[in-house]
Structure formats: structure tokens, C-alpha cells
């Protein structure tokens, strides 16, 4: 880096550092936090694998090419070797290829269900929060009506809720996503509403009222931007649990009806019967689930810290 000798240049450099929004500043802090970097690396790696993995794998994950070499009765399954890096599974398919391709469906289920829960939760929580914070007596009534329903949803254990939805909608991938999304709706709704309600008390909202800004506009341009931070952090953390829950639902046989398509939860369920012979079949997808959940959690927790107003300079 060159040394800035002219005073004007140095001042310009200083001026350049100004005008950072709180988001930009949080990003700058994230870049300096090791857990955030580890989390981000894991997440990016996972996403890349999910996107391009199917193009790179050595074998077709559906082909039972090594069927002839396995003997269920003797518990003989080819282990790791040059041709099959992690051996073959109980149907004679390449385990490594299945594991890599399985990441895709796991990611899709996690992301779609989290986005679904986020969208619905933000809509409900946003309406409740804006109504309670700005809408006076009628608004508080609307809010307590909405939140009572949300609390009822929240009271049901999440896996039970997901299983009930799956039971109603039947076995499919969409079912899993809707079920898991629904489970996270009350979390997002409560979180956003609480944050908006707290912001509605603040003086800058009073200032906007005094300026004559309409209520919907205050909710949109002041309450929401100041309240989404914790919701986005929560979405990252929810992604981790959504992936685990998706695996759990697949494990219970409620996932994709086409069991041939690799998915970590399904692989885990299949591995169950062979736990004494081939425990590694359970370990591979489990490690995948744990690592990616850890990645999202690290990222989410670091974001929570970076966005914390108490740590702001």
C-alpha cells in the first residue's frame, strides 16, 4: 500500500470510511471473526457440493452396478476401494456418489422450508407487530388475536406438528417442506413482532409520527428495517434445525416418495438395518448433517454478535 503524503488524500481516505450502514459495519466485523469464517466456509462448500456435486461424482448414484458383489445373507458388502471410495451400499450403489448427490436434496428441503417459514412468519409477525405498536386499541386487539393462534402453534412440539402435517398431506417432498416451514412460522412471527414492538417505543418512531408519516410507512421504513436483524440470524439457525428435521421426517418415511433419490435422512434410515455390519453407512450422512448444521449455527451466532447494537462503536 502506498503512503499517502498529501493531506487531502489522507482526508479523502478518512472520508471514504464514513457512510457505512450498520449492515456494512456488521459485515466488516464478521470478516474478522474466526467462527463466522469457519461457518461461512462450511456453508459455501456445502452449497457448491449441492449445486455442482451431481456433475462431479464418479458414478451414477442410482445405478445398482455392484449388486452382484453383495451378499445380504453373509453381510458381505464391498468396502472402500479405488473404484468405490466409500464402498457400496446395501443395494450395490456407490456410497460416495450417493452421499454427494444427497446433499442437494437436503439443502433444497432446508432452504425452501426455512424460506417458507420466514415468509409466512415475517408477514404474520410484521402485521401483528405493526398493529400492536402503532395501531392503538384496535391494533392491540388484532395483535392479541393473531398471537394467540401463534402461541397455540408454538405449544405443539415441532416434530409432532410436522408429523401431523405430513400425515394430512401425504408422503411427498412438498409435505416435508411445508411441515418444517410451518414449524418455524411461530418462531419467526414472535421474534419479529417482539422486535417491532420494542422499536415502536423508540423516540425515532415518535419523531416520524410527529413528522406526519403514515403508520404503514412507519412500519415499513422504520420498524421493519430495525427489527429484521434478529430474524435473519434466526433464519440461519433455523436452517440448521430444518435440515435435521428434514432428515428426521425422511427417516420416518414421510419424505420423498421416490426412495431411490439419495437424501441424507433416507440414507440414515436405510442404514439402520445394517448398523451392526456397516455402522459407517449411518456415520457418513450423520456427519454431513452435523457439519452443515454446525456451519449454519456458527454463521448465525456470529451474525447475532455482529449485529448486536451493544457492541457497536
Amino acid at each position: 500500500m502506498s503512503v499517502l503524503t498529501r493531506k487531502a488524500d489522507r482526508i479523502d481516505r478518512l472520508a471514504d470510511q464514513h457512510g457505512l450502514s450498520l449492515w456494512q459495519e456488521a459485515l466488516r466485523r464478521l470478516r474478522r471473526s474466526p467462527p463466522a469464517i469457519i461457518g461461512a466456509v462450511i456453508v459455501v462448500l456445502f452449497v457448491v457440493i449441492a449445486l455442482v456435486g451431481p456433475l462431479l461424482v464418479p458414478h451414477d448414484p442410482l445405478s445398482q452396478a455392484w449388486r452382484g458383489e453383495i451378499s445380504e445373507a453373509r453381510g458381505a458388502f464391498p468396502g472402500p476401494r479405488a473404484e468405490n471410495w466409500l464402498g457400496v451400499d446395501h443395494l450395490g450403489r456407490d456410497e460416495f456418489s450417493r452421499l454427494i448427490v444427497g446433499a442437494r436434496q437436503t439443502l433444497i428441503v432446508g432452504v425452501v422450508s426455512t424460506l417458507l417459514g420466514l415468509a409466512v412468519g415475517v408477514l404474520i409477525g410484521g402485521i401483528a407487530g405493526a398493529a400492536a405498536g402503532l395501531g392503538g386499541r384496535a391494533g392491540r386487539f388484532l395483535d392479541s388475536f393473531i398471537m394467540r393462534i401463534i402461541d397455540m402453534l408454538l405449544a405443539v412440539p415441532s416434530l409432532l406438528l410436522a408429523v401431523s402435517v405430513a400425515a394430512v398431506l401425504g408422503q411427498s417432498l412438498a409435505t416435508v417442506m411445508i411441515a418444517i416451514g410451518l414449524v418455524s412460522v411461530p418462531i419467526f412471527a414472535r421474534l419479529l413482532r417482539g422486535a417491532m414492538l420494542a422499536q415502536a417505543e423508540s423516540e425515532y418512531v415518535t419523531a416520524a409520527v410527529a413528522l406526519g408519516v403514515p403508520q404503514w410507512k412507519i412500519a415499513w421504513s422504520h420498524l421493519l428495517p430495525n427489527s429484521v436483524g434478529p430474524v435473519i440470524v434466526q433464519a440461519t439457525l433455523t436452517l440448521a434445525t430444518a435440515i435435521i428435521e428434514a432428515a428426521a421426517l425422511s427417516f420416518l418415511g414421510l419424505g420423498n416418495a421416490d426412495a431411490a433419490i439419495p437424501e441424507w435422512g433416507v440414507m440414515l434410515a436405510d442404514a439402520q438395518r445394517y448398523l451392526s455390519v456397516r455402522p459407517e453407512w449411518a456415520i457418513y450422512p450423520s456427519v454431513g448433517i452435523i457439519v452443515i448444521a454446525l456451519g449454519f449455527t456458527l454463521l448465525g451466532e456470529s451474525m447475532r454478535e455482529a449485529l448486536d447494537p451493544k457492541l457497536r462503536r
Binding site: 423516540e203 419523531a207 410527529a210 406526519g212 410507512k217 462503536r313
Partner: protein
């Protein structure tokens, strides 16, 4: 005619008990029957100790709370009767400057967004270029550099933040500005700068001010008329200099006597009235004269059972009003021995 006329204004906050049924068990009489008026281009200072209802009064005038009774007439329009769109439209004419410039600015908006909000809200200026020019004008007027626009509130010092708050109020071209303790959150060294700015802006833009402060020195600086509040009511009102020179209400005398004098000799000899006890609760104000529990001149007759009205008294200047039964006698008598 006055630009702002406040008449018999009261703001009572209900005190509720019980989680479910919310029974009202009483009222905090934060503002209890206040009347005063401010002429166009006038500057009215409102002082009183913390908790006496100054902010509540200011917010009632701004219609940021709902007055229990009374009227606030701005330029012939009763603001207490306005709602919704009509009220929002009216807000262009009456603006507020807040006590804490940090919390009254949205931390996620840069200065440009903060200033444009008022222009968008009231449809001022046609087109981006015209609005940019208005924003630049107001930045100059409050003494902020042009490069402030892309910066965020946390990047400024307290005094500069208050300039942003003033600019936000100013940009919609209001006639009346209610400033609630505009300098009490600032360093003493900065306070004079902001007060001077307010005084300059009043002169250059023909503004009318209601300046609220707990500190007599602050309102004296910028107000021509000063009203003294005690426990939700006005107890005295006079021209600024007159009030300092000859405070007539016992409470004002105590306030004035508490202001230190720079000259050490005078400082040693001057009358000092120390008030007994604390500010009584606004939920259960004393009967009769609200001040009788702490008044050094309290008498057995009238003080405890008859509420004194704010009246013009004969010994004072023409527009000197006092709410004390015995103001004339007290004006003539020396201060009682301090308690």
C-alpha cells in the same frame, strides 16, 4: 392573535391494576389545567423540575398523546379535534425537536434519507433535483457539512446529531417548533452553540418557539416569555428578564435562588431558598395550592383548600401572572429563614 393558544389543557394517564380486566384505579395528573399562548414569532420558555409534566404538555400540543380535556388552537384550528389525514397534514406546520438526538434518529437511515422523509411525506419539492436543493439548503442552515448526507447518525457527535434533528424539523418549513429539552443531553460546551443556532434560525426563518427545559438558564437564553410549571400546572408566567429580576411565586423564587451567580461576593450574600421534601406524586396532588407542602410562605388560610388561579397581579409588570394567593404580600416581605 396568538399563533398557539393552549386553553385549560389536561392530560391524565390512567393507572391500571390487574392483568386481565385492567381496572383503572386512579390517574396521573401529568398536566392539569394549563393555559397560555404564544404570539407569532414569539419564543415561550417552559421550565420546571423533572417530572412536572413539561414533556407531556409538549407532546399534547404535538398531539403525540391524547389530551383529557382542553384545547390547543394553532392558527385558528383546534388540534385536539383533528384525526388521521387532517392531523398528519397539520403536522407540517408544527414540528418537534427531541431531547435525545441519538434515540430520536433512526440508526439505519443516513442523513439524506432522514431529511427526505419530511419532503416525501408532505409532497414538498417537485422532483429529485428540487428536493436535493432543499436538503442542501437545510444542511447549510443548521451548519452541517454537505458530505454528511451519506453518513449515519452514530458517526456524528452529540451536537451534530441535534443539528440533524433540527434540520429534520426545519425542512418541512414549519411555523411553530416545540423543542423538548433540546440541549439537556449535550455537553455544556455544545449547549450554547445549539441555543445560538435556534436563536439564529428563529430570526432568519420567522419561527415561533416553545422551548422546554428544566434549567432556567437555558430558557432565558432563547425565550422572551417564561412559564414556570409545578406538578402539572403553570405557577408563574412573565417576560424573561422580569421573571429573573422579580420572581413572585415562592416556587420560582426558589428556582431563581438556586442559579449560581458568577461573582463570588454576590454568590455568598444572595438569598437562597431551599425547598423541603420531594415533588409530590402527580397521582395524588396536594389539595388547594399544589405547592403548599413545600412552600416556605404557606399560610393556614386558603393555601390548603383553595387552588390559586393564574392571575395578573398589581405589583408586577403588566404581563406578569402568578398562581399564589399571597403573591402581593410575599413580594413585599423578605425571604423567610431557610429551612
Amino acid at each position: 392573535m396568538s399563533l398557539l393558544q393552549v386553553e385549560d389543557l389536561s392530560v391524565h394517564f390512567p393507572i391500571t391494576r390487574g392483568a386481565l380486566l385492567n381496572r383503572t384505579v386512579g390517574h396521573v395528573r401529568a398536566v392539569d389545567g394549563v393555559s397560555f399562548s404564544i404570539p407569532r414569532h414569539g419564543a415561550y420558555g417552559l421550565v420546571g423540575e423533572s417530572g412536572c409534566g413539561k414533556s407531556t404538555l409538549g407532546r399534547a400540543i404535538m398531539r403525540l398523546n391524547t389530551p383529557t380535556s382542553g384545547t390547543v388552537t394553532y392558527d385558528g384550528t383546534d388540534l385536539t379535534a383533528l384525526h388521521g389525514r387532517r392531523l398528519r397534514g397539520m403536522r407540517r406546520h408544527v414540528q418537534m425537536v427531541f431531547q435525545d438526538p441519538m434515540s430520536s434518529l433512526d440508526p439505519r437511515q443516513n442523513v439524506e434519507t432522514i431529511l427526505l422523509e419530511g419532503l416525501h411525506t408532505h409532497n414538498i419539492g417537485s422532483g429529485t433535483a428540487a428536493r436535493r436543493a432543499l436538503v442542501a439548503d437545510v444542511l447549510d442552515a443548521v451548519g452541517l457539512p454537505r458530505n454528511s448526507l451519506s453518513r449515519y447518525p452514530h458517526e456524528f457527535s452529540g451536537g451534530q446529531r441535534q443539528r440533524i434533528g433540527i434540520a429534520r424539523a426545519l425542512i418541512v418549513e414549519p411555523d411553530l417548533i416545540v423543542a423538548d429539552e433540546p440541549v439537556s443531553a449535550l455537553d455544556v460546551s455544545i449547549q450554547a452553540q445549539i441555543l445560538n443556532l435556534l436563536a439564529d434560525l428563529q430570526a432568519s426563518r420567522g419561527l415561533t418557539y416553545l422551548i422546554i427545559a428544566h434549567d432556567l438558564a437555558v430558557v432565558r437564553h432563547v425565550s422572551r416569555t417564561v412559564g414556570v410549571m409545578y406538578l402539572g400546572s403553570l405557577v408563574e408566567e412573565a417576560d424573561s428578564d422580569d421573571l429573573y429580576a422579580t420572581p413572585l411565586h415562592p416556587y420560582t423564587r426558589a428556582l431563581v435562588s438556586a442559579v449560581p451567580v458568577p461573582d463570588p461576593d454576590v454568590e455568598d450574600r444572595r438569598e437562597r431558598i431551599i425547598l423541603r421534601g420531594d415533588l409530590p406524586s402527580a397521582a395524588a396532588p396536594p389539595s388547594g395550592c399544589r405547592f403548599h407542602t413545600r412552600c416556605p410562605w404557606v399560610r393556614d388560610t386558603r393555601c390548603k383548600d383553595e387552588r390559586p388561579l393564574l392571575r395578573t397581579i398589581s405589583t408586577g409588570a403588566t404581563n406578569h401572572r402568578v398562581a399564589c394567593h399571597w403573591a402581593e404580600e410575599i413580594a413585599a416581605a423578605p425571604a423567610p429563614a431557610s429551612v
